[in-house]
């Protein structure tokens, strides 16, 4: 059984480990660091920061990293009615960088039917191979059919890395595949990179429900799987002259057994502006205080041609519908201008909007984390400041 050990001969009682521990599991007793195993989650943050290497993670017989007989970076291509979803192009953009570092090929994996147009679009994005898993039963999403066929494809072609969009489909199918292939899956990565020395995918995401980032690896299992949200990575460039090898796989009936059956897709009536595509967003958080106060933001947004969005706190308080929520459990947005009003800036919110070109923050609390991420900030009450801005900007027209 694994545990964190402290060599008290080396330990100087400096307390760096106490500061680093996300779970307050370490304290100084007799000037030495002592770990409360009831709170310790073995995350090893303390091991990483100890200046004298007194702390270590002891495990029984660490598995040596095997030599894997696998290669290539795969990207799952989500399609709806034969149209490729935009997050796929972003994954291909990122996938290309990873493949180049690994000196491997970039492969698009497309389960579906009547997808010939989609294949042409994928070819334009710098892929080396398109695996077209073709079957009428793959026309619409079914968790079992998609998982079983992609698992079979993985077993045959052995990818090094397999990326999925963090969409409802991507997360559902990636989770199932990762368990069945007995491999690691990291959700909602905000950045991906390659450790070229160790030949590993470095998967970075927010962690432990707070303002901390974690870099995660899958050292001993393959493929290394990760999901990435829409609008986090940059799309692959279009090159109309590019070509790719297309490999068509038509699997037999044995892979198509499921207890579930697709009946139909229902499109909800779109909101007047989908916040995911907005150029300017005015967003409200707990600091707005009430549902009624959101009208201040509506007025402001109307004046500057923005969409209104919100943090999770505002949505949980039922001041605004969930479709407007920006953040880890809401939407990811990437506008030219993001104005955060009464939002403290928890990491779960930040990962939904931090790639905005310009961020302006208004908050009463000078210590609010959002001020570290904003280009410009005003310490003050949004309820007073926003109407003043609205007045000024109305006149400027």
């Amino acid at each position: 059984m694994a545990e964190i050990l402290n060599d008290i001969n080396k330990c100087t009682g400096c307390g760096e480990c106490i500061n680093a521990c996300p779970f307050s599991a370490i304290s100084l007793i007799n000037a030495k660091a002592v770990i409360d195993s009831g709170k310790c989650t073995l995350c090893s943050s303390c091991v990483n920061v100890c200046p004298v290497s007194a702390l270590s993670l002891s495990e029984s017989e660490k598995k040596k990293q095997s030599n894997f007989d696998c290669k290539d970076v795969w990207v799952f291509c989500e399609q709806k009615d034969g149209v490729v979803m935009p997050v796929t192009y972003e994954l291909l953009g990122e996938g290309k960088k990873l493949a180049d570092k690994l000196k491997a090929r970039l492969c698009a994996v497309l389960p579906g039917y009547d997808c010939e147009q989609a294949i042409e679009k994928l070819k334009e994005r710098g892929v080396d191979i398109v695996y077209y898993v073709k079957h009428e039963l793959l026309k619409n999403f079914n968790d079992d059919y998609y998982s079983e066929t992609l698992i079979e494809l993985c077993k045959e072609y052995k990818p090094e890395i397999f990326l999925f969009g963090a969409t409802s489909m991507g997360r559902a199918v990636a989770s199932r595949i990762a368990v069945k292939l007995h491999t690691g899956l990291t959700a909602d990565c905000t950045s991906l990179d390659i450790d070229e020395e160790k030949h590993l995918l470095l998967q970075t995401r927010p962690a432990f429900g707070g303002n901390i980032m974690a870099t995660i690896i899958t050292p001993n299992h393959r493929p290394q799987m990760a999901t990435v949200r829409h609008k986090v990575m940059k799309e692959a460039d279009i090159n109309p002259l590019a070509n790719a090898q297309v490999i068509v796989k038509e699997y037999g009936a044995n892979l198509f057994s499921s207890n579930a059956e697709f009946v139909k897709s229902v499109k909800e009536i779109a909101e007047t502006i989908n916040i995911s595509d907005a150029d300017i967003i005015v967003s409200g958080g707990r600091g707005m205080g009430s549902k009624e106060n959101f009208s201040i933001l509506e007025e402001f947004a109307k004046t500057i041609g923005a969409s209104v969005a919100a943090s999770r706190a505002a949505v949980d308080s039922e001041w605004i519908p969930y479709s407007r929520q920006v953040g880890q459990t809401g939407k990811t947005v990437c506008p030219k201008l993001y104005i955060a009003c009464g939002i403290s800036g928890q990491i779960q919110h930040l990962i939904g909007m931090q790639s905005s070109k310009t961020i302006i923050a208004i908050n009463k609390d000078p210590d609010a984390p959002i001020f570290k991420y904003a280009d410009y900030g005003i310490v003050g009450d949004a309820l007073k400041i926003v109407p003043m801005l609205t007045e000024i900007l109305k006149k400027k027209d």
Partner: protein, 260 residues
Amino acid sequence: MNIIICVKQVPDSTEVKINPETNTLMREGVKSVINPFDYYAIEEAVKIKERFGGKVTVITMGPPQAGEVLKEAVTLGCDEAFLLCDRKFAGSDTWATSYALAAAIKHIGEFNLILCGKQASDGDTAQVGPGIAAHLNISQAVNVSKIDFENENKAVVNKMTEQGYDVCSINLPCVMTVVKEINTPRMPSLKGIMRAKKAQIKTLGADDIKADASKIGLEGSPTRVVKIFAPQHNKENVVFNDCSEEVINKIAKIIKDGSI
């Protein structure tokens, strides 16, 4: 109908604050609560039991204090509670967690339906629900916002998507993860509170569920955390500490023109 609910105890994320000096979490004194999405799973299970009869069993994997969320689940209508607790589970990632929960479910016995909240508010991965389905080799329906039963063996569900929702039929036994749109959780009843007082929470260890030691805890986790760090930020970072007219005008200009 035998329904099993998997729940998780998480820190109350509205209260978790960051130490401004060290940029680390300050979890001391932060309440632990039941994962918000789990309330919807519990409510749905109780509604289904009210319709078809049967039993609702709630299970959680965690440290001893996680038993508190089980008690809360019993006040809301669950009949039996299991705490999967063992130092050997420490350090589990989603693969090892879903493996352990699946093993516990096999130990608990027959079931028709497993319900989970869509995701936990601390990890936000949404991987454990589908992971349990994969370990048990049964079908899954993820992000369910509506369940209609044709009969005890078959349901028609709405699964939320980015564009709206998909309608699917699914045969039981299966796993469903539910979203907030599915119902409005009821308040605990006096009867529920009284029942929770008497409730016996059964604790299961790794040996009780015959867990394969190589598949649980840190050792059983394919993923590893190698680095923890405070997020980098390389923004201009101009913060005005007053809201004078001059400052407001400056900001208005930025909004209009995109620069100071």
